[in-house]
Subunit: 480 residues, 2 copies
């Protein structure tokens, strides 16, 4: 940081996006570093964000017929070995309990990195007839994956998530489920987090360990990089065969189930920060902002102003607004303005003796293109929900425009390398993993997804000029 | 089990209470056994119970000014050693991660058995001034304690809970907090779980490892045993000194904080089962019953009855009732009646062609002292919330009467041993740990608590006749 910079400000995005992020998550009070390598403490402000996002997702998961359940944290090591690709994918990241109750265990227990194996084992006990299908389960849980290059929210040794796990009588039903879950993620990202994500399918090299098909929603961060914000996997019968998840059909035949799994995690918080934040700090979408409105008493109004601020807060709360009165007596209004800007509160209301006399408050939106404007105290509870809805819509428009401005259809290698230096390239690709690796080595960009709604494309590969695979252009970008 | 008994029924409580419990939790679909020793899978029906209880407790925790946060699962082993009593108490129960990311760790990590140490470490970073106090935190999390004699919900290697952790400027404020948390637990147990618990203080021998004072709520199960259903601890400055949690007072002096912690866990589900259940199965308090009402189509009404059942369900749902239509075509009404009795649904509505003609449904309450009675379909949405409230109140009255019937004030050893064989004894006790041990060895009974509202008592110890301590009678009982 520059020596001249306010100690509570953060490095500008344009100077060092990564430093901006790392400083901001700490200064905005979202997280702190945990003692074990790569772990994070989620502080109340960050956890409330997660709770609000979680509530929206949980409601949708339940409404679509899934039941929450809870499976053990500790999984016998041998379970992971039953699905060959799965164990290969996760082995390097495992944390292993070797001692418990003062003794060495006969079989080590793995701290779950994901729960396909233990849930598969239980599904095999619970499913016998076609009448038991579909089995639609979800779990909210912590998981542990040892991270060599941890980063708060994005890659932490322990993170929180939900993992859906379902079993079906056939491929068609399982694929419907896979796409349903992806649709929930897209909806929550767009409508709640104001992140205009692209739903698409991963190429073979980016698939989940053990999956037959992996789908993703990809968001663009303000440095042009992609963030995988949720994934949904069709497992085919891979796990069903490994864990003997089978059912007797109506015709009396024993058949393997087709399973899916899908997850969204605290990583989404990182996505929100990097989609909307600016040099002043966080910019939070109202639908998940812990405080949607903060009221800051200003001037020398003393108790009278404070009483009015509290009264206004009560009326706003009754209108369904999450509001906070910053009554800290030892801090100046200017300090508080900066503080709440850093913490991304969508709307600030300033209230002083002169405002009180005029029966108004001075409203400042977090993205201040309109400047401040007075709003009448009496009608504020009616007006603010609309202001917040507008702010939510503005964030989505702004992020969509940014994403579109930084996405280019590219036919030749030069424009491709230019595009992925600052954003995404839509390009034909041959589908050969060797060519994928070559592109990654030269540009840092990887295929993010084959977008579901991409128009047909049958030209050459942008790198090797062989005929393009997938029938559409692929999104390439550098990624988190 | 008797050879002649229906395979879906359970051993009667009177025959073998423990077998009744162990069979019931599996048959009612609450849990299944996990693969690692002493772990449990919480199935959707059991997890929904937990979610409903959790929502009630979480709301109260937030309303009293506490913020949720999340701290890492894995704690450096050295943290536990900083508080001598704490490490001594928890060492035998620890699960230890020694390897991660393919390597042996330099310092082993403990899977949290409770989070005083890691939260204490963070509090010491976050607190510097008296303005930072009180710091009121809560965490919903899984914890692991290696159990030698596990039992579903009551003692499992992994369980779910909330743990409140707070820091205060002095003893008075910390003690207020300790009692506030105990009050929340008492309220949730009584008003939500219909468990008439006794709040009281633990004797020295039953204190939490590292606490200065431990308070508890104790419920009586239907076999007369006590269940500790929630605890609240005043730590004094023990953890503050171990983790350097201190603040600068308004007068500029550096002072240690006074801390508290308090927890309620999935153990409460075991308490609900053993407080209300009977030989037919679970009996669930409506306020946490996953389904408060189940509608079972009967007779040969076919689609017409089913359509009416679904329509009724929609109207009941709109009235705030959690209702389920059992439309499984391959099962008989009799099977379904038994099934929902086993699963403890408070109210069953039977709906057949004749009921439909009379525009009524036949209502059966789970405790059938009233028999079945017809209720008009049109007014059902108005009537059922009242029926459910009455049922909730009935459960609390019934459990209170049972508890009172099985609690005796005892002055002499013979009546004491008789009382603790079937319930609780209120008895004078000298407070000497050796005498406590002697009583336990002879009767299996331990001091459950010194009840907060017990009348003054100054007679002799029921066992050794030395003068009684505590100024009141102590509750003794065998316990889970």
């Amino acid at each position: 940081m520059d020596a001249g910079r306010d100690e509570r400000s953060v490095t500008p995005q344009s100077e060092d996006f990564s430093a901006w992020y790392n400083e901001l998550v700490l200064r905005a009070g979202l997280v702190d570093r945990g003692p074990a390598k790569g772990t994070m403490v989620i502080r109340p402000y960050g956890y409330r964000l997660w709770e609000l996002l979680q509530a929206e997702l949980d409601r949708r998961i339940k409404e679509t017929g899934h039941d929450n359940a809870y499976f053990p944290l500790l999984i016998p090591e041998s379970y992971l070995r039953r699905e060959a690709e799965h164990v290969e994918g996760f082995s390097p990241e495992l944390a292993v309990v070797t001692h418990a109750g003062g003794k060495e265990l006969e079989e080590p227990l793995v701290v779950r990195p994901t729960s396909e194996t233990i849930i598969g084992e239980m599904m095999s006990r619970w499913i016998s007839s076609h009448r038991d299908l579909p089995l639609l389960l979800n779990q909210w849980a912590n998981v542990v994956r040892w991270e060599l290059r941890p980063r708060m929210f994005l890659r932490t040794t322990e993170f929180l998530w939900q993992e859906g796990h379902t079993a079906h009588a056939g491929e068609a039903d399982a694929m419907r489920e896979t796409m349903l879950a992806l649709g929930l993620y897209e909806e929550v990202a767009r409508d709640i987090a104001a992140m205009p994500v692209v739903p698409g399918e991963k190429t073979a090299g980016e698939r989940f360990a053990g999956a037959q098909r992996t789908f993703t929603i990809e968001g663009m961060m303000r440095d042009g990089r992609a963030l995988q914000a949720g994934t949904s996997h069709y497992m085919g019968t891979n796990f069903a065969r490994a864990f003997d998840i089978s059912y007797t059909s109506a015709e009396g035949r024993l058949e393997p189930c087709h399973t899916t799994s899908w997850g969204m995690s605290t990583r989404m918080i990182g996505g929100v920060i990097m989609t909307h934040g600016d040099d002043k700090g966080l910019v939070l979408p109202p639908r998940i902002a812990p405080y949607q409105v903060v009221i800051v008493p200003v001037g020398r109004g003393g108790e009278e102003v404070l009483a009015e601020a509290r009264e206004l807060a009560i009326r706003l709360r009754a209108a369904g607004v999450r509001v906070h009165v910053d009554d800290r007596p030892h801090l100046s209004p200017g300090y508080k303005f900066n503080d709440w800007e850093m913490r991304g509160v969508p709307v600030r209301l300033e209230l002083g003796p002169r405002d009180l006399a005029a029966r108004t408050a001075l409203m400042a939106r977090r993205l201040t293109e309109h400047g401040k404007e007075p709003i009448p105290l009496d009608t504020a509870p009616g007006v603010l929900p609309e202001v917040l809805d507008d702010f939510q819509a503005l964030l989505l428009r702004r992020a969509t425009a940014f994403r579109d401005d930084h996405t280019r259809e590219t036919g030749d290698w030069d424009s491709f390398t230019e595009a992925v230096a600052t954003g995404w390239a839509l390009a034909g690709h041959c589908g050969d993993p060797v060519c994928e690796e070559d592109i990654k080595a030269r540009t840092g960009a990887t295929p993010r997804c084959v977008p579901l709604d991409g128009p047909p494309f049958s030209g050459p590969c942008v790198r090797c000029h062989a005929p393009a695979a997938y029938g559409k252009r692929v999104i390439f970008g550098r990624a988190y």
